[in-house]
Symmetry: C2
Subunit: 152 residues, 2 copies
Amino acid sequence: MAIDPAMLAWRNLHVADAIVCDQVNARLNSEIGCSLTEHDLMAWLFAAPGQRLRMSDLAARLRVTPGGLTRIADRLVARGWIERDQSPDNRREVRLTLTSTGTEAHETARTAYSEVLRDTLTKHLDETDLDTLGAITAKLLGRLGQQIGERP
Amino acid sequence: MAIDPAMLAWRNLHVADAIVCDQVNARLNSEIGCSLTEHDLMAWLFAAPGQRLRMSDLAARLRVTPGGLTRIADRLVARGWIERDQSPDNRREVRLTLTSTGTEAHETARTAYSEVLRDTLTKHLDETDLDTLGAITAKLLGRLGQQIGERP
DNA sequence: AAAGATTGATCTGTCAATCTTG
DNA sequence: CAAGATTGACAGATCAATCTTT
């Protein structure tokens, strides 16, 4: 009886993700003093139109709860890397922006992040494998998105 | 300038892993009353020679710290699903085994787990994609294992 | 002293309740 | 009352310190 190919693929994928996450976190932590999640928050802000996003939008992108995002934002505000501000036309909404120090921190973090990916992925998989991996996971995400309800 | 294929593959893989984890956790939680990690602990025990493993070995397999494993084991002992015992020839070592209720719980959990994988992976990717995904991640894990120090 | 497991303090996130604004 | 964010209580793991056994 052959082992379930889905189970095999999943377990490999899951462990590989854990290992890469650990390495990224370790590197970001020692070099910049932030976590992968904190980097991702800054990356979403950096890429957003007007460098500005609402709390609820960020929570969806980072896949954390509203309460969780409040805490993550608290930490980055305390470090002086982001700032809160309220939308003038709807004072319920809180938006976040990068400060100038936050932009610098993100730039440094992004570089370190890329280096870890080179050491963990690019070094071990050739271009074809990486593209194939990207394509299959992209297909999967597309289907899962429809199934679940399309993460924005 | 083309987007970095490693970054693309990694982000897709990372998000896909998070989605599948959430679904597995939700299903195991509602149906069996356990988490993915708790299932994995039981699965390792079930597959082990003599259905018995040392704390430190389990910690390495589950990729958690010794302290973390103590807590996970505490919960499963409290549910009556596993038991602690001490090695007669080295009383520092603590080993875990499944109880009969634990074996039943694991069996139920394993079935639910497989069903979630069918709904999230097998339903959306054909056999070829799954095999390719398994092969590429296996290659990656092989290289990462050597790089890091071979998880047992 | 070192190996192995546990414990207390802490960190990060969740969940449900709450506060504010529309 | 609903939308959006925050807060308190808690869950789950980490880390460093500790205890036991070798």
